[in-house]
Amino acid sequence: MNGSVTVSLVGVGGQGILLGAAILAETASLAGLQVKASEVKGMAQRGGSVLSTVRFGERVWSPVSPHADVVIATELLEGIRGMELLGSRGTMVCAATTRITPGSVLRREEEYPDDLAGAAELRGVRLLAVDAEGIAREAGTLRAVNVALIGAASTVLPFTSEQWHAGLEAAVPAKILEVNLRAFELGRAAVATQEVES
C-alpha cells in the first residue's frame, strides 16, 4: 500500500497496547521513516477490546487503516477477532497462551473460541503463535506480554536490532526498561527458534 506498513495492536484495555504502539512508533521514527499512529482511549480502557494502529513508510497520509500488514494481539480471542484486519499476505503475532475471559463467556452466554491456528488458516495468514506469558514471566514480569510480542513481531518488521533497542529506550520508562529489553529479546529469539523447528 504505497510502500507504507500498517501494524495494528489489539488486546484488552489494561494490557499495555499503548506502550507497545509507542515502542513501534519510536522505532520507526528513529529509523528515519514517517510515522502516524492512532488509538481510541477513554471508555475503551476499562477491560474492553482495544485497537491501536501504527503506520510507517516514506510517506504516510492517513492515521488509520481498515487493513493491517501485521497484527500484534496480546490476547487469544482478540487475536482471532483481529484476523479480519489481515490480508492473505499478513502476519498475526498472537499471545497464544493469554486468555482474558469476557463477561458474557464467564456468564456462559457465549463460548470462548479456541482455534487460533484454524482461524489463521481460514484467513490464509501467517501465524506466529507465541507463549508471551511464559516469556514475560521468564523476563521478570507478567506485564511484559506486550513487549515480548513486539520482540516476536520484530522478526517480520524491517528494523535492525539496534533500531529496536533505540525505540525501546525512547518509549519505555527507565525503571522498567531492563525487564522489557529482556522480554523483547526473548520474544525475538522465540520466533527464531520456532522458525528453525518448523
Binding site: V12, G13, K41, G42, M43, A44, Q45, R46, G47, G48, S49, L77, E78, I80, R81, E84, T101, P102, G103, S104, V105, L106, R107, R108, E110, E111, Y112, P113
Partner: protein, 594 residues
C-alpha cells in the same frame, strides 16, 4: 362571535401549552422569554418552576418528559448555549411525553449581549423547529409541537423573536387536547447514551430528519399562498408579517415548520413566479438551503443581516428587485437522501468484549444497594456509566455531564415522589452537578443523589479535580469537601465508606425513606489507584448452588465454574459477592499485606 383573548406571544405560548396538555413548565428567565413561565405559574393544571440555569432547566424538563408528562422549557437565545450540552444528546435519546423547547431570540439586541440566530440549533441538533408569526400561531403551534414531539420521538424547538414574544394580538382559544400521562418504561438502548447505544440512535436521528422533511412537505403549517404578481417571498415568523404588508400582491411560502426545509414546496413556489426573495432576520438560514437547490433567490444582498426588519426595510430592500428582469428559470436540484455508513458488523461467533467495571470497583456496591430500592437511577458520565450494561443494568439514563441531578429532580417533581435517584461521580459533580443540586434544594425536590466519590477522574486516566486538589503535575492544591459543600447549600448529606457494603445499603435505605432531598457520598478511592487487596474470597462448593446472584453483580473476577462459582486471580477481595450470596457459600479470608 367567538370569545377572543388578547395575548402577548409569551402568554399565548403558556396558555397554548396548558391547552395542549402540558403539565410541567420550567425555564430560566431571559428577555424575551420570561413571561411564558410567569404566565404558566398563574394557570391551573400545570406545574411551573424557575431553574438555576437553562442547562438544568432542560435536564429537568427531560426528567419530567421521561416521567410521562408533556413538558415545556423556556429560555432566551443565549440560554440555549448553556443548554446545548443536554440538547445535542437529547436529540439522540428522544423523549417519552412531548417536550417543547422555546428559544426566544432577540434580533436587534434590545436586551441581549448578542443576536445569534438560534434556527442554527435546529439544524445542528437535527430536530424540528416551528416558528409562529403572531400570538394565535404561538398558541396553536404549541399543540402542533407537542404532537410532533411524540409522533417523531424528538424534542421540538419553538423559536420566537422579541416581536412575537412581546407583540400582542387576538387569540381564539381552542378545544383542549387530551394528553394522558405516558408511563415510563426503562430502555437503556434509548436513554443511556454510551457509545454502543448512541451509534444506533444516531442512525435513528438521521432517518428521523428525512421523515420530518416529508412531514414538512405535507404540513399545513407550511402554506403556499397565491398572489397576483410574478414575485414570490419565502419567510417565517415575524419577517413574514413584514413581507406580507410590504408586498400584498406577492406569492408567499410561509414556513411555520421551518426545519427541516420542505424542498418540494419551495420548488413549487418557483412554478408560479419567476422571481423569489427570502425575507429573514439575521442569518441566511433558508437562503443558503435554497441556493443549494440551485434556485435563484434574492436574499442577504438586499435584506440586512443584522438587527430587526420591518415592512419599510423589507419594501425598500426588495422594491428594486421586483421590477428587475427575472433570472433564467432553473430546475431545482433536489439533494439525494443522505447516505448512512454501513452498520457495524461484529465478527460472527466471537464473544463481544465491552468495557466493564473493574474487579473491586466500589461503584458496583452502590449499584447493588440501589437495585434493592427499586428506584430509577438517573446516571451520568464516567466509569460508572458502564453500570448500565448487562448484567448490572443499573442505570436508566446517561445524557450529558451533570444531567443525572436535574433529570432526577424533574422526574420526581413530575410524579410528586422519590421515584428516581441521581448517580454521579465526584469529578462530574464538580463539573456540573452542584448547580442542579442547588436547584433541587430551591425547588423542594423529593430526591436522592449518590455521589460516587472515588477521589479521581477515573475514566480519562486519573486526573485531579477540585475535590482532590490534585494538579496536572500531581502537586497537591486546596480541595473542596463535598459533604460540607452540600451542607452549605442546605442539603442533608452523609458520607459512607463505599467498601462497607452493609453501611452503604443502610444509608441508601434510610435516604430512600426519608422526606425531602439528601445526598450520600459513597467514598472509596478508585481500585486502580490503590491496587488494594482486601482479602481472598473462598467458595464453599457444597453450599453454592450456582444461583447466579453473585455473577449478576457483573464482576469480571467471579464466574460460574463446575458445580460452584470460581473466583479468578483478578479478585481484589472487595467482598460484594460475599454480601449478595444468600446461601453463605462465599466468605472472605483475611490476607496479610506484604
Amino acid at each position: 362571535m367567538e370569545r377572543q383573548l388578547f395575548f402577548s406571544g409569551n402568554e399565548a405560548i403558556a396558555h397554548g401549552a396548558v391547552r395542549a396538555g402540558a403539565r410541567f413548565a420550567c425555564g430560566y428567565p431571559g428577555t424575551p422569554s420570561t413571561e411564558i413561565v410567569e404566565t404558566a405559574a398563574r394557570l391551573e393544571g400545570i406545574h411551573s418552576q424557575w431553574c438555576v440555569n437553562e442547562k438544568v432547566a432542560l435536564e429537568t424538563a427531560v426528567g419530567a418528559s421521561l416521567a410521562g408528562v408533556r413538558t415545556i422549557v423556556t429560555m432566551k437565545h443565549v440560554g440555549l448555549n448553556v443548554a446545548a450540552d443536554p440538547l445535542m444528546t437529547l436529540s439522540l435519546t428522544g423523549v417519552n411525553a412531548g417536550l417543547v423547547i422555546v428559544s426566544a431570540d432577540d434580533p436587534g439586541m434590545h436586551s441581549s449581549q448578542n443576536e445569534q440566530d438560534n434556527r442554527a440549533y435546529a439544524k445542528f441538533a437535527k430536530i424540528p423547529m416551528l416558528e409562529p408569526s403572531d400570538s394565535q400561531e404561538a398558541y396553536d403551534f404549541v399543540a402542533e409541537a407537542f404532537a410532533l414531539s411524540e409522533e417523531f420521538d424528538t424534542p421540538v424547538l419553538l423559536r420566537t423573536t422579541t416581536r412575537i414574544s412581546h407583540g400582542r394580538g387576538q387569540v381564539v382559544p381552542r378545544v383542549p387536547v387530551e394528553a394522558p400521562a405516558r408511563e415510563y418504561a426503562r430502555d437503556m438502548s434509548k436513554y443511556v447514551m454510551v457509545p454502543q447505544y448512541a451509534r444506533q440512535r444516531n442512525r435513528v436521528v438521521l432517518e428521523r430528519l428525512e421523515k420530518l422533511r416529508r412531514r414538512a412537505e405535507e404540513s399545513p403549517l407550511n402554506v403556499l399562498e397565491a398572489g397576483s404578481s410574478d414575485f414570490g417571498i419565502i419567510a417565517s415568523g415575524v419577517a413574514y408579517t413584514y413581507a406580507r404588508e410590504a408586498f400584498p400582491k406577492a406569492w408567499f411560502l410561509k414556513l411555520g415548520m421551518s426545519h427541516p426545509l420542505p424542498y418540494a414546496k419551495v420548488a413549487r413556489l418557483y412554478e408560479h413566479v419567476s422571481r423569489v426573495a427570502v425575507v429573514e432576520e439575521l442569518d441566511p438560514f433558508f437562503e443558503e438551503q435554497i441556493r443549494a437547490l440551485g434556485l435563484p433567490v434574492v436574499g442577504k444582498e438586499a435584506i440586512p443581516s443584522d438587527g430587526e426588519l420591518d415592512q419599510e426595510i423589507v419594501f425598500r430592500a426588495l422594491e428594486p428587485y421586483v421590477l428587475r428582469k427575472p433570472p433564467r428559470r432553473r430546475r431545482p436540484v433536489m439533494p439525494p437522501a443522505p447516505r448512512l455508513s454501513a452498520p457495524p458488523q461484529p465478527a460472527p461467533g466471537l464473544p463481544v468484549r465491552p468495557p466493564v467495571l473493574c474487579p473491586g470497583c466500589s461503584h458496583r456496591s452502590v449499584f447493588a444497594a440501589l437495585r434493592r430500592r427499586k428506584l430509577a437511577p438517573m446516571g451520568d458520565i464516567g466509569c460508572y456509566t458502564l453500570g448500565s450494561l448487562p448484567p448490572l443494568l443499573a442505570l436508566d439514563s446517561c445524557l450529558c455531564m451533570g444531567a443525572s441531578v436535574g433529570m432526577m429532580a424533574g422526574f420526581n417533581k413530575a410524579l410528586g415522589k422519590k421515584a428516581a435517584v441521581g448517580v454521579i461521580g465526584d469529578s462530574t459533580f464538580f463539573h456540573s452537578g452542584i448547580t442542579p443540586l442547588i436547584d433541587a434544594f430551591y425547588n423542594e425536590v423529593e430526591g436522592m443523589l449518590v455521589v460516587l466519590d472515588n477521589r479521581t477522574t477515573a475514566m480519562t486516566g486519573h486526573q485531579g479535580h477540585p475535590g482532590t486538589g490534585i494538579q496536572p503535575d500531581r502537586a497537591q492544591g486546596p480541595a473542596v469537601d463535598i459533604q460540607r459543600l452540600c451542607e452549605g447549600i442546605g442539603v442533608r448529606c452523609v458520607t459512607v465508606d463505599a467498601t462497607d457494603h452493609k453501611a452503604l445499603d443502610v444509608a441508601v435505605k434510610e435516604e430512600a425513606a426519608a422526606p425531602g432531598l439528601g445526598v450520600i457520598v459513597a467514598l472509596a478511592p478508585c481500585v486502580l489507584m490503590t491496587r488494594h487487596r482486601a482479602g481472598e474470597v473462598v467458595v464453599d462448593d457444597e453450599r453454592c448452588n450456582l444461583c447466579g446472584l453473585c455473577v449478576d453483580i457483573g464482576c469480571p473476577a467471579i464466574a460460574p465454574g463446575d458445580g460452584a462459582v470460581a473466583v479468578l486471580e483478578s479478585c481484589t477481595g472487595c467482598g460484594l459477592c460475599v454480601e449478595v450470596c444468600r446461601r453463605g457459600a462465599l466468605s472472605l479470608a483475611e490476607t496479610v499485606e506484604c
